[in-house]
Symmetry: C2
Subunit: 636 residues, 2 copies
């Protein structure tokens, strides 16, 4: 049956199931959801079981939306009029995907009103479903920009969601007994290397790409996944793209897909959408600054945002006629997810860990390791080598304090190259606590690159942070990210001032592998003096300047800047990585439920993926594969 006919039938069925007097005027697939349009949204709202029953009977994610969604400008004025000024509204964002309006205010309680009376009032008057949220303590330019993109593309997005919904709910082609079913995974990058993550899942029915990142430190064709092989090309054959997290080694080439014909959805968490947008915009910026022609423009980043379908952890979502996707916390960075696929009505289940941290960090809970079903696990191996044991976070912090004390004590400056997202916040929290508890002297901690912006996003998405930190910020009203030691560097002049000031200080700057970004500026000025210190706290990929310096190069040719002679001290403090170490990785495989039949080790140097795979086989008797790039494995 065609989708249109199915929708007509569904409308008849639903109208029979709803109470007398309630009219369902329209049923539409919009993205993965089935939207029921009605004149009586309140009847649905009152009878909560009604939606639940419908969802269960029809096996769909159901959303009820009023026929008349007030014009957003009128609604805006209405909300401003209804909510008392004391609420301190800072932003009103209309999400036309969901019919919800997000009201950010200094005092969200005032927006809600006594027993929710103000919210109800808003619904009655505007048709929109209001949600009140606390204004993030640090404003994020990126979130503002993303909301702006979504606002501008409202109509286009509606059209996109309906088209996408119809595609997801299309009829299966291969249902005959005659047809033999299969599920394949193709590796387009990230095998026996760290970088350019890209994996394809395909069945006779559908094709899904997981991640599409760059290879840090690589140039030319080697920097991107293999996107011109017939398995993936042309891109408009893809049903979906799934993004595990925002780091560029997973996200950098997603906008490129839109340049070359992709026009479908990108499933990811809202936090990843926003963080990835920030990192992609910066990626363009760095490319431009380094005189490399970027492979796409900000237009394609906007396309990425417009085509994102944001999912919360745990939402089970139809993404193709024979595939359901669920994202789960991966513990790695804000919004990072393990992508779990249920294929062919549960016939086969496969999880891609993306990048993983399987322990409690200052920021996040450990990665989820319980799944309803699981046959294949595709797991990262950054620290999968047999020697890759990291010290505990506590030991790491001790060591960090030690190195900082030493450097500050001799009047030097500490330069910490760090990914803007994840490690920087972890370091900030450690350093802030160290100063608060007098473990290290009080001094300025300068943040350069996108660290402040990334931090702002952490406070805008508190639901991803672990309970302790959330409590500290919202219950105890102490936001460590706002501590006065932190100072943003946002201009050339300011950077020069930091560099040439006499005062010892700590500088946390991007990029984390020193392959671009303001950290290079600091390096070239601070390298000369043996009083200064670089502390490496994260993984340095082969081919990056960071790796070279870490390995002991004392003369580093940095493109057109010439050669930097390095006299400053180099230290590596292990234990701050956002990646599980060998012990955590083995624990993860041991504790993951249910026990998978097969484990693929990826996202690691060749020797590490192979060693990790063979250790898993020896210890747990699970079939393992350490695939190469450009291979295809049959899962079913």
């Amino acid at each position: 049956m065609q989708v249109e006919d199915r929708l007509k039938e569904l409308k008849v069925t639903i109208n029979k199931k709803v109470p007398r007097g309630v009219t369902v005027t329209d049923v539409e697939f919009e993205g993965p959801e089935m939207v029921i349009y009605t004149d009586d949204p309140k009847r649905f709202a009152e009878d909560h079981d009604l939606i639940k029953t419908l969802a269960r009977d029809l096996r769909k994610r159901i959303v009820v939306r009023p026929n008349i969604l007030g014009d957003t400008e009128e609604a805006y004025d209405m909300i401003k009029a209804v909510v008392p000024e004391t609420a301190g509204i800072t932003d009103i964002f209309f999400d036309t995907d969901t019919g919800e309006v997000l009201i950010e205010a200094e005092k969200p309680g005032v927006v809600i009103g006594k027993n929710g009376s103000t919210l109800r009032d808003i619904t009655m008057k505007t048709g929109w479903t209001p949600k009140a949220a606390r204004t993030p303590p640090i404003p994020s330019v990126t979130i503002k920009q993303v909301r702006q993109y979504l606002r501008e593309s409202r109509d286009e997005r509606k059209e996109f969601l309906r088209r996408c919904g119809k595609r997801i709910h299309r009829d299966s082609i291969y249902t005959g007994r005659d047809h033999d079913q299969w599920l394949r995974m193709t590796t387009l990058g990230c095998c026996r290397q760290v970088g350019r993550a890209a994996f394809l899942l395909s069945t006779p029915e559908s094709k899904v790409l997981i991640d599409c990142g760059e290879s840090p430190g690589a140039t030319g064709a080697a920097s991107s996944p293999y996107l011109n092989v017939p398995e993936i090309y042309p891109f408009n054959n893809l049903d979906a793209v799934v993004l595990t997290h925002a780091h560029l080694d997973h996200s950098a080439f997603i906008p490129l897909l839109f340049r070359y014909g992709y026009d479908g959805p990108v499933y990811t968490t809202p936090a990843t959408r926003d963080l990835a947008t920030m990192l992609q915009l910066d990626y363009l910026d760095v490319n431009n600054k380094e005189d490399r022609a970027p492979p796409y423009s900000s237009n394609e980043i906007r396309e990425f945002v417009k085509h994102t379908i944001a999912l919360g952890y745990g939402d089970v979502t139809d993404i193709a006629p024979d595939m359901k996707l669920t994202l789960h916390n991966a513990g790695h960075i804000l919004g990072s997810a393990i992508a779990h696929f249920n294929v062919g009505n549960g016939v086969y289940n496969v999880a891609f860990t993306g990048d993983l941290f399987y322990g409690k960090s200052r920021l996040f809970n450990p990665a989820v390791s319980q799944f309803p079903r699981l046959e294949s696990l595709i797991i990262e191996s950054t620290y999968g080598g047999s020697d890759d044991f990291s010290p505990s976070r506590v030991e790491a912090e001790e060591r960090l304090y030690e190195v900082i004390n030493e450097t500050l004590g001799r009047g030097g400056k500490v330069l910490i190259p760090a990914f803007a997202v994840g490690r920087s916040q972890e370091l900030m929290l450690a350093i802030e606590e160290g100063m608060r508890n007098n473990r290290i002297p009080k001094c300025k901690v300068y943040l350069d690159g996108m660290i402040k912006e990334a931090t702002a996003m952490h406070t805008a998405y508190p639901e991803y942070l672990n309970t302790d930190l959330r409590n500290l910020i919202f219950r105890d009203n102490y936001n460590p990210f706002l501590a006065e030691c932190f100072e943003q560097v946002d201009s050339y002049d300011k950077r020069q001032q930091v560099i040439f000031s006499e005062d010892p200080c700590v500088i946390i700057s991007t990029s984390g592998m020193m392959n671009g970004g303001p950290v290079i500026e600091y390096l070239s000025n601070l390298a000369e003096s043996p009083k200064n210190m670089i502390i490496f706290v994260g993984y340095q990929a082969e081919g990056t300047y960071g790796r070279r310096i870490q390995k002991g190069w004392r003369e580093v040719p940095i493109g057109k800047r010439g050669t930097i002679v390095i006299n400053m001290e180099i230290q590596t403090v292990e234990g701050f990585s956002g990646h599980a170490d060998r012990k955590q990785l083995m624990n993860y495989v041991q504790y993951v439920q249910p026990k998978p039949e097969r484990v693929f080790t990826i996202h690691g140097e060749e020797s590490k993926t192979i060693d990790f795979a063979s250790s898993i086989y020896k210890k747990f008797h699970i079939q393992t594969v350490s695939p190469q790039n450009l291979e295809t494995y049959r899962l079913v």
Copy 2:
């Protein structure tokens, strides 16, 4: 540089290298060859080193052809006039691909003339290069038909060869250092099963399909390889198809490629081309008789013939800018070949054994096991299980004689289902010798199905037979295939006569796995009497009637014919297979030179490919893979 410019340059270069007075008027790529057109073919013919030197300097296969190739009809008359009538000319075949004319005669010596004088005379008068051959003792309808196809499509074929030549010699796209090279093998069938052989080799530059067969006994989608996956589709992206041998599990779906857009070359031996044509035509026939819609028509078989580029064993041939192919004797059936690929100027070498016999049989020499280079070996595993030891050919013949004696002794008929190609001829030779040496009583040996035709082709291509047999036929002038015990069944009446005669006899009939063909007719009439006997001498695939009867089914439902009750005796005589047994397979891996880095075991039931692979690993410490269908492995 474009191919056209390259050809112009080559013409200039060659004209500088040839002796004064010789003019090269044109240089063309035709298929894998570089053809030099000249008005002085005799000067080239005289100075044999000239072509050799040119070939070495230009690193091309060079053919010299006179500008004026006489009109074939005039040349025909001329040859008839020049050659004395006593030669007994039976066929004159002009091969426009090569400029050769094949003169088949009862007395080829008379065609050659004293010291080759008659041949020289023909060259002078016609421009064609004559070759004399002995008229095959049994005329082959198929060979006649194939020559007819080629004759009819002369102009089209010229156009095809030039187009194909330009494609082979096109410029490489990926030559930059930036580009990383790879070689991949994709399994489209024949993994963990016997049947539907189809493998794809691909590089950034080119794509080659090896075999494209059916799965005997399977129906619907499962009977053909996976031809609708993006790795292979669309077919016009293929650079070449290589056919290892004629059996339908390797050749049946090659004509289908032409129906769906393929328009390139099929590289194979001349014998395989002709045998495959016969088997494909029969495949259509059987499909029609069984009321199954055949997937293509005889038009596509004609396309297959027209697009064939015939290669002899050992010819090193450019088939793509970065691939050279060499076919080597596989010992399995007439014309069967191991396909050896040299990729990227020797960077990587991979051999597909096709079906293999690694011992001397009555018909052929053992498979070739020496290669200039070899990194990966893809080897068949039909009898790769740890118990798959066959008796020697001598033991097998003893046992065959025993069972025949027993049956004839009790007045019964012996029915031997056999592939038309290979096993039938092996049996004929054994039975004929048995009768000649009085090991079994003299009786009629009826041949039904295409066995006679297949036998005819064996005598038309004596160069593929082993030395003993060739000597027997041509030196000792005794052709065992013509022994008087053999009698062809070529009509319904004749078949009924054989079935209902009182005389004991032996019947060899197709198909070899009893999934169609006249053998079914014999079975349904002979099954009733316990005096009669079926002897299985070849592999019976899962799902075929042969397998069921062999397993002991005593009531066999045969489609619309109803159920056959089987009272006749069933015996399996092992040792006649055209496939290497476990011992031969292990020997092959042991003796193959050079030792490959990796072995893939295919063309065998799941347990056998796995067992064979793990035994190779244990015994020879070579990395092994037992791939599944639809997987891709990275070789480089």
